[in-house]
Amino acid sequence: MKLLVGSLQLGLLYGILALGIYISFRILSIPDLTTEGSFSFGLSVSAALTALGHPWLALLAGMAAGAAAGAVTGILQTRFRIHPILSGIITMSGLYSVNLAVLGGSPNLSLVRAPTLFKILPFLSKNEAMTVLPACFALLFLALVILFFHTHVGMSIRAVGDNEDMVRASSINVNGCKILSFCVSNALVALSGALIAQYQGYADISSSTGILVVGLASVIIGEALFGRRGVTLGFISAIAGSLIYRYIVALATKYSPLPAYMLKLVSALIVALALAIPAVRQDFGTAALKRGGKTHA
């Protein structure tokens, strides 16, 4: 039971991360490595402010921090024409120092005595809050991103990811759209980090290692279930994918003979396999065609 509920909570919190990854990976078609830095940026900022007694402000500041990180990547990529992957790596590396600075120079910060959101809600016990809050945040931001990507700006961003040539010829500011979507994407990633810090009750600088793969795995698992049809379903499936990913992880850690530290390797394998399937399928198709051709000839 504890496992079921715990996975649900984590799935929802990391679902917000999956929303952000869906924006960069699927809508813009750019795997954004800033994620690895902006997740801990949100996490550290949130932890630092919560420790000072401002848990709500911590979330806002965490999001703003993520958006700023996204803006840096976006500007490196558009204004200075640095390769998309490389600009993400640059921001991510720089953020490592920033995050340490935010945590006061130490790699972790405990929030045991701090008033996290989960402790201060009226009418709800801490245990209830740990399910209710993640659900509220996940649903709220799910609704917000769906709405946003149906507005004029949101559609412009989708068009940029879909056909940049067309957008360049149609009066939409491509660079502006890209920067904005990196901001939105990383703000969501950072919010996920900000909530996780308060949820766990501590911040650890290393908790964002491999977080991009976690997000990608969620997006891909979601797509395996729902298919790739439109953004609305895409966002919903990203959150669903995140939930399923957490249950897989829970099962794997409980029943598998592998130690817990193998988790990242398993996630990486899931992502690699899922991304390889189309190519493998095509090769099998070609091979079948060749065999067919030979027997007839």
Binding site: L147, H150, T151, H152, V153, M155, S156, R158, A159, D162, N163, D165, M166, V167, R168, A169, S170, S171, I172, N173, V174
Partner: protein, 264 residues
């Protein structure tokens, strides 16, 4: 209307592969003119369009649109008033977005309230109306992803995207060349209708010489980055494909030869 003054564009200047795409081209278009442009590969037709759209900046010369100097204006700013349809049907639309979303993007660009939801019910009605004029049944497929349409249907959608808010200048870059003959004719018919309806000032590149003489009301022939001939009125009405070919070889001392040009 459109005024190009002494436009010079040299690619890879100072290298052995230096190439003059536009050699001091001057061109004036009056409002409502429908001008066809012909010329062999590398004649400078597409460079002329790219210069007008701001894909690259000129080495020398100025471009004015409606009296406003747009020589150094950014590409996406110019696109507010210049519509362009490319030869490649894949280029003008976002394949994973629906017809109505594509149209809405194009429609809202002028009065963009960034956070307004689109398409609105009013927009939908307008799109349906305009699409039905094409007689291609697209008005019943507004929620279809554009990537699932045929080349001709995509070009029709692109054309509507470029003209749904009438542009000051419409540029058609061999927009029927990638289509099969029947579809090409259909798209051309739609084009003529649309241009007439809003009296759009239009430049159209074509490789079909006879069509270039019968479509619109003025014909330019380009060669080696220059405008070789500029026919309109009486002179154009009397011109034939053969006459044009002769004129070309007399002027250039070589035979007009291009496997892509249709001499029908």
């Amino acid at each position: 209307m459109l005024d190009i003054q002494n436009a010079l564009k040299v690619f890879e200047k100072g290298t052995p592969s230096e190439h003059t795409a536009l050699n001091h081209v001057s061109l004036h278009l009056d409002r409502g003119e429908f001008v066809t442009v012909i010329g062999s590969n590398g004649a400078g037709k597409s460079s002329l369009f790219n210069a007008i759209c701001g894909v690259f900046l000129l080495n020398e010369g100025r471009i004015l649109l409606d009296g406003k100097d747009i020589t150094f204006e950014k590409e996406h700013r110019r696109a507010l008033t210049i519509g362009r349809v490319f030869q490649d049907p894949m280029k003008g639309t976002a394949p994973h977005m629906t017809i109505e979303e594509n149209l809405s993007l194009a429609y809202s660009r002028v009065m963009a309230r960034p956070l307004s939801f689109s398409p609105s019910a009013r927009q939908r009605a307008l799109f349906r109306d305009r699409l039905s004029e094409f007689g291609m049944g697209l008005e019943d497929r507004m929620k279809t992803q554009v990537g699932l349409l045929s080349g001709g249907q995509r070009q029709a959608v692109t054309l509507l995207m470029c003209t749904i808010v009438p542009p000051r200048l419409l540029l058609l870059d061999e927009h029927t060349a990638a289509l099969d003959p029947a579809t090409a004719e259909k798209v051309m018919e739609i084009t003529k209708k649309t241009v007439e309806k809003d009296h759009l000032t239009t430049l159209m590149i074509t490789h079909n010489i006879s069509a270039s003489l019968t479509t619109g009301n003025r014909t330019l022939m380009m060669d080696s980055g220059e405008i070789l001939f500029d026919f309109s009125g009486e002179q154009r009405r009397g011109m034939t494909v053969d006459g044009l070919m002769k004129l070309y070889s007399v002027n250039r001392h070589r035979v007009l030869d291009n496997d892509r040009m249709l001499l029908m």
